[in-house]
């Protein structure tokens, strides 16, 4: 099967500083890939390459065989800082509608799409509220709903649950899992939470830093749906967790930038 997204010897340099180097990675359609690594290893930059927000300094990053030069409608992002990514002067519905306005969806069709997304993300009754009236977890649901309004093939998530408390985070992890199983979307998920990466991912990519590069790839062969209680006790989960911790500890001994 041809990969949906592929990195070919891709690298990024900011001035004389090499941030990412020699990236080679294929992501299949429908795959859930998690990226972990010590801070400053270029996780977010890797995501921005796929998003088309940053061009690679060398090599190619491509979507369905085409080099990614700018943001594409098939690729959506969920940022960590929902407080900055949502428009404070628009309601929940208005924020979701923004994606439809950008896509040129006829006004008459928008209402039904928005209502669907609000139901899908468990935001019933909040459509008329402003982001500032919602909790962090609910705001992040709004941002996910807005990116889904783009009807993307690929969802890029940059530490989407990093700013949320543990209970909210687990709830959203499970909803994300359910969503992916339903819609068969490809997900590229950046996180610094190793358990989260194993729990959600089909594959976990461990990055080394300075310059950022792919250090080790872990296949997670645990069936779905996964469970917040049972899965972390699965021997396979524990084995990968041990290896991943060893790997990260090892990368942190390397000098930081």
């Amino acid at each position: 099967m041809t990969p949906l997204i592929s990195f070919r010897d891709a690298g990024v340099a900011f001035g004389s500083k090499q941030v990412l180097e020699g990236l080679n990675l294929d992501i299949a359609e429908g795959e859930f890939v998690c990226v972990v690594g010590a801070s400053g290893c270029g996780k977010t930059t890797m995501l921005r390459l796929i998003a088309g927000l940053h061009p690679p300094s060398e090599g190619v990053v491509s979507y369905a065989g085409q080099a990614i030069a700018r943001p594409r409608p098939e690729i959506a992002i969920v940022f960590q800082d929902y407080g900055k990514a949502l428009l404070p002067w628009r309601t929940v519905s208005g924020n979701i509608e923004l994606a439809l306005e950008a896509a040129g969806t006829p006004r008459a069709e928008r209402g039904a799409i928005i209502a669907n997304l609000i139901a899908l993300m468990g935001l019933e009754g909040d459509g008329g509220k402003f982001p500032s009236e919602l909790s962090g977890g609910m705001q992040q649901r709004v941002q996910i709903a807005r990116s889904l309004a783009q009807r993307p093939q690929v969802l890029l998530m940059d530490e989407p649950f990093g700013a949320l408390d543990a209970m909210t985070r687990q709830g959203l992890q499970d909803e994300l899992q359910r969503l992916m199983m339903q819609q068969r979307m490809t997900v590229f998920f950046v996180t610094h939470d190793l358990e989260e990466a194993i729990y959600l991912g089909d594959r976990v990519i461990g990055l080394r830093r300075n310059p950022g590069r792919i250090g080790k790839v872990f296949d997670v062969r645990i069936g779905r749906p996964r469970d917040q209680v049972a899965t972390p006790e699965d021997p396979e989960f524990l084995r990968i967790r041990r290896e991943l911790y060893d790997f990260i500890r090892d990368t942190e001994r390397e000098p930081a930038s």
Partner: protein
Amino acid sequence: MNWRGAILPVSVIAAAQFAATTYGIQSDALASPVEILASLLQALADGSMIRATLETLGAALGGLLVGGSAGILAGIVLGLSGVLNRLMTVSIELVRPVPSVAIIPLFMLVFGLGFRLEIAVVAFGVVWTVLVLTRAAVAGIEPRLLEVARVLGMSRAQAIWKIVLPSALPRIFVALRLAATVSLIVAVTVEVAVNPLGLGYGMQIAQQALRPEWMFAYLVWLIIVGWSFNYLLVRIEGIVLRRMNFTGPRR
């Protein structure tokens, strides 16, 4: 408004009236509060004050409209384009400090006397403030929002209309309020200096006729007009921003 704030002006007026009635005023420069009030009421009754007010406000608002929209437009363009901004900064900083009064002779040659002159000078007087503040507001927009616009595939016009302008609006309002005050000042200045129109011209005539009570009547009326003008703008701003859910720390 806090009633305690009225203590000082009311006592000053009372003292002035007391002094005027006790000692009498023989002056070409002063008048008693009662005389001033009488002149003001008379001028309001015969319509001359209202006409002058409409002329001055018309010119001030016209200039505010022209200068304000030019300033907002240019501010957005320069705030979004680093290249254009670097190209224009020196020129703007050179022209900006020119006092608006100093541009009157040149604009008189171009426009002659009348409304067009006054509107042009007011526009010149407000455009730079609005431009500089709008530019700062646009340059200070949350970068994440601009990324959201890119990721959603918005056109440049869509991004400006739906994201840049609303984000910058609270600070653009601050600029417009400053500009509104300036517009009235400049309009009256032009009238006092050269233009045979409006409140400034009325004051000028009263002064030349050695009628201090008229002059003060115009002055008192100007305070009322200026205060109301600003109050109106603050109310409009409050309504618009509240409807857009801009409250608290963003202002």
